[in-house]
């Protein structure tokens, strides 16, 4: 056993400073982007309609389009990096991506790890069930199994609003969606527009009941990366003012945005 402990300590001694040493300095990110003429953005590849691969094998989505607009405003090219839940923060913090636009809900707890832009999209939580399901609303969930993505505000909201339901968390949205389709779960809860993205290709399911809880999405930055964050906040407001935001929103959600982007006076 003694040997085991020594090995453990050795691993930590090697690993932890390695992590620290590999990180980029945050304050120069905006300059670094301009110097390399390229914005590197982390996006999801499996979350329609925010970031996903379409039937022509192209990366598309609302998050993806917003990042393209940010790059355009910066006058640089854009490179997309695929992120997943376990990798989105390490890739950002270690400097492998400049920002992360990965349908992330902004919470106070999460602010401990990264900074967020202003809210660029406000999601509403909803319930998805099979068309022949007896579940019509939140109140019908007692004794039912509800699939949800783990570690999300959605999971906590559901536990609060439907205390008699069995919350079955999955590592990602796609597994939770598979659980509903395979009959492992009676319902799937998630962001309304993401649920609609899923059922667009798969008939036999529908969204029921009222939408509940609000999910403010923010773009993620490294702590202290205020120049880039301010720039992106400005771009989001410009997109709203020019009507481009509404255009993109209609493209991906088929409706007009119901929550405006917060606007700051130019001064």
């Amino acid at each position: 056993m003694k040997k085991g402990w020594k090995a453990l300590v050795a691993v930590l001694i090697v690993a932890v400073p390695g992590l620290a040493g590999g990180t980029a300095r945050a304050d120069g990110t905006l300059d670094a982007i301009k110097a390399r003429h390229k914005l590197i953005a982390g996006v999801k590849y499996d979350t329609p309609p925010f970031g996903f691969v379409d039937d022509k094998n192209q990366l598309v989505g609302f998050d993806v389009d917003l990042v393209r607009e940010i790059a355009k405003a910066l006058g640089v090219e854009v490179e997309f990096v695929k992120v997943t839940s376990p990798t989105r923060i390490p890739l950002l913090v270690s400097g492998n991506v400049d920002l992360s636009a990965a349908s992330m809900t902004h919470t106070r707890e999460r602010e401990g790890a990264i900074d967020f832009s202003i809210t660029y999209y406000t999601g509403a939580q909803a319930l998805l069930v099979a068309e022949n399901s007896p579940i019509k609303a939140l109140g019908d969930l007692a004794g039912k199994t509800v699939a949800v993505q783990q570690g999300t505000t959605l999971e906590k909201n559901l536990a609060k609003l439907a205390p008699n339901a069995t919350v079955q968390p999955f590592r990602d949205y796609t597994s939770a969606w598979l659980a509903l389709r395979q009959g492992r779960a009676d319902a799937l809860t998630g962001s309304y527009d993401i649920l609609r993205g899923f059922i667009r290709e798969t008939p036999g399911f529908h969204v029921v009941g009222d939408k509940f809880s609000l999910e403010p999405f923010g773009i993620g930055f490294r702590h202290g990366d205020w120049q880039l964050r301010d720039f992106v906040n400005g771009v989001l407001q410009d997109l709203w003012a020019s009507g481009r935001y509404r255009e993109l929103y209609r493209t991906w959600f088929q409706v007009d945005p119901d929550v405006p982007i917060e606007m700051w006076p130019k001064g």
Binding site: A15, S175, H223
Partner: protein, 222 residues
């Protein structure tokens, strides 16, 4: 650098981590039991002389070993939804059948490494064929393969992390939960890595000693 580590997050999630640790251990131990049961039978069948069991065992080993463990997990959980097996037992089944194939190969190699004369001598002494296996061949074979089995078991503990994809709340799953809540991916995954390191270090020592001593020696006294 701009990122400030907050290791306190592991303490705040200690209950979740402990329950994850418990599930990882339960998965691993039940998986080990299942894999040993399947592996001892299949390995013996492969080393045996009868054709049908030998072919059946060989077929199982090839099939189970050549399919990724991830697919084993999905198969039991999503593929055989009609059985309504709880996620935990799907994980145990997946681990048992996958690792069982490796145990079978190790056991087969162990049995074949015992000289044929040992069996002949045991039978000549008046032992039944079953007794020859139990008291003469297995004790020697197990002693030879003990290090491989111990290694396999630590592999199995690590493999149990894949049960997280079918929503079994073991350690890796808990790390995902912590990451999701707090975005503290480094702390969560380094934390569970250290826990894995500790259990595997302990388990591989205990397993090695177990296979060498506890299981084999009482039989050797005969």
């Amino acid at each position: 650098m701009s990122y400030v580590f907050d290791w306190g997050v592991l303490w705040r999630y200690r209950e979740a981590l402990l329950s994850g640790l418990g599930l990882t251990l339960a998965l691993s131990l039940l998986g080990l039991a299942g894999a040993m049961a399947v592996g001892l039978v299949a390995g013996a069948a492969q080393a045996g002389e009868r054709r049908l069991p030998r072919l059946a065992a060989a077929g199982y080993v090839e099939l189970a070993r050549n399919v990724p463990l991830l697919v084993h997990m999905y198969f039991w959980y999503f593929g055989l939804t009609a059985l309504r097996l709880p996620a935990f037992w799907c994980g145990v089944l997946g681990l048992s059948l996958y690792s069982g194939a490796y145990v079978a190969e190790i056991v087969r190699a162990g049995i074949q490494s015992v000289p044929a004369g040992q069996r002949a001598a045991a039978l000549a002494c008046g032992l039944s064929p079953a007794q020859a296996v139990r008291f003469v061949i297995y004790p020697q074979a197990l002693r030879i393969v003990a290090p491989s089995l111990a290694g396999l078991f630590s592999q199995l503990v690590k493999d149990s992390s894949l049960a997280s994809v079918i929503s079994v709340g073991e350690l890796t799953f808990v790390a995902g939960e912590i990451e999701g809540d707090t975005f503290r991916a480094f702390e969560a995954y380094i934390g569970v890595t250290v826990l894995y390191l500790m259990i595997i270090t302990v388990i591989s020592h205990v397993a090695l000693r177990g296979f060498r001593g506890g299981i084999v020696d009482p039989a050797m006294r005969y």
